[in-house]
Symmetry: C2
Subunit: 365 residues, 2 copies
């Protein structure tokens, strides 16, 4: 079905079927690997990325020049030990770092833009399973994902139950709540309100909807941090000044920080990808896919599961992880669950939380 190219990308020979009923031709999956694959292919792990993440898990990002997004967790001697495991991380379809997405060229020679089909989390996982097929990896030692990465891990466990022995889901959920959808819709409206968006057909225009995308990123960023974390980090501290300006400059450090987050993001991310991936997350409801009962999703699963939540995460609070754990229990699956205390909110899964290191290391070994 697939041919492996030299550029760490795999192109599917067969069209990829999607939940919408559409198919996607010539899908490419861009990926990175870390460590060595054992001869019997028994040591492969898949790490799945979050909304704005990518395959640069533990290597330098080619656009930003920054370290990989989970270098603290993945590497030789680290909790996900690349001297023992072969760790794969692939860009999801719909994204913009080499895998097929709205910025990709459609069969007619023009970018898909909004002609790209609306995809789901399960469609993303279809792409990842296609990659594993192409690599000849039938069974993962583990799949590990935080946030949207956790949704992919749950979707793989539910829909391809034989493909992973261990499923580690961090700071995630089995469904998007009304509040989750509301924040994403806000971001989408900000992008679509930007005149440079031009109904998505901006690729040849020389201008992209950066202002709208920056606002969307700012909104999302607020949800990634806890109120206490924001207060500890910024409080009401002023930025580079002793007194208020009585103007509309970024007087407060938190304003300056948000503006920086927003503008920096537009250099590495495609606005249409933001629309499609948030839509996929909003559509995610694993119970709905399985007859309205979440336990059905895991019936007969032989995998071992571990769910991790953070007490300061108000985006996907502990109750969401507990909801998954109850369903796994009802399905008779092997599951462990831990709520970690960390001050950083949802972003805790990416930050320096040593307790998470221990949980990850303990579970994947």
């Amino acid at each position: 079905m697939a041919t492996l190219s030299a550029s760490r990308a795999l192109t599917f020979a067969a069209p990829l079927p999607l939940d919408s009923g559409q198919t996607l031709e010539g899908v490419q999956i861009a990926y990175e690997t870390y460590g060595e694959l054992a001869a019997d292919k028994s040591n492969a792990m898949l790490v799945t990325h979050a909304l704005t993440g990518d395959q640069y898990l533990a290597s330098t990002h080619p656009i930003t020049g920054k370290p990989g997004w989970w270098e603290r967790m993945v590497g030789p001697g680290k909790p996900i030990d690349t001297s023992r495991y072969y760790v794969i991380c692939a860009n999801v379809i719909g994204s913009c770092m080499g895998s097929t997405g709205p910025a990709s060229i459609a069969p007619d020679g023009q970018p898909y833009a909004m002609r790209f089909p609306v995809i789901t989390i399960r469609d993303m996982v279809r792409g990842l399973v296609g990659l594993l097929d192409g690599m000849g990896i039938e069974r993962l030692h583990a799949i590990v994902g935080g946030s949207m990465g956790g949704m992919q891990a749950l979707s793989l466990a539910a829909n391809w139950p034989d493909r992973a022995e261990r499923v580690l889901v961090i700071a995630s959920t089995s469904r998007h709540s009304a509040q989750n959808i509301a924040f994403h819709e806000l971001g989408r409206q900000a992008i679509m309100a930007d005149p440079n968006w031009q109904d998505g057909d901006y690729y040849a225009s020389g201008a992209s909807p950066d202002a709208g995308l920056a606002v969307a990123r700012m909104a999302a960023h607020i949800t990634y941090l806890s109120e206490d974390g924001l207060t500890d980090k910024f409080g009401r501290n002023l930025q580079d000044r002793d007194t208020k300006s009585f103007g509309f400059d970024a007087d407060f450090q938190v304003e300056s920080y948000l503006r920086y987050q927003g503008s920096g993001f537009t250099r590495r991310f495609d606005a249409n990808s933001y629309l499609y991936i948030t839509r996929a997350m909003d559509y995610f409801d694993l119970a709905e896919e399985h007859g309205g009962r979440l336990a059905n999703a895991f019936a007969g699963s032989q995998a071992r599961f571990c769910l991790v939540s953070f007490d300061s995460d108000w985006l996907y609070p502990t109750a969401e992880s507990r909801h998954v754990v109850h369903a796994l229990n009802a399905a008779g699956a092997a599951v462990s669950f831990v709520e970690l205390s960390a001050p950083y909110g949802h972003d805790s899964f990416l930050l320096d939380v040593s307790a998470l290191d221990r949980v990850v290391k303990g579970f994947v070994e």
Copy 2:
């Protein structure tokens, strides 16, 4: 200092001094009154409004045609009983319903736009005190405000301690947190990113930054509702359809609701006013104004205070009200405090919460 016009607006003869050091000439305060002022003027109450509120407290809004924003609370026989009290509600300066704001005509004959001075909550209260002066009301029976209205009530109590006998502060705070500032900054950036904003000079252009303002309103609106309230009201229910569209229409009811809130708001509110009023709220820190110690703000106050919070309010959570109560206690002021249980989040102060009716009625009588 002031002359009362027939159109329920008062124009100040003297310039209004502002916290920025600037002054504002010819300030007009638009207001509504309900009930009859007693001969000795002892029955006057001032109700202060929230960010996007106005003077149409208990009478039909002239633009939307909707009932006043607190008709459930204010009227004959209601908790704030207009058969007993003379209830005043005035549009704050910086707003857009008749009081002087960025859309007003400056002395040079052009709209102020961004030449309007940055104002503070205390400046708004200066305007309200000027109105009371113009009406010859030296001492209010009570000042009552929710959200930004509560900030004004606290500011009056701190800076004009003899002007109110009773101070009722609902779902409010003595300072804006980093998260509060972050959400407002997001809204401001959305407005400023709208090309129709034109650095604020859009009044003569025939186009206003409605798209940006709608996004700002959507962001704020999410903060006014609790997660549980959103789940109860909308959950993941689809809007006017049985299945997902696999497109970018408002599939979910919560999306449709937010779009409606955003677009409806632009018909009645000025984008520059949104910038100025959010800035005033972000600048608000009553302790900072009083030597860094909140109790100093209330030293020697003879007023009676009541603070009310809602357990589902994550914008100004109960801890913020408790913080004010502790300061009032430290200052030796008379204060009562109640946290009410209500499912609606911050917006509870505007909605059908019968326990609030009883608290308000009991306190103001």
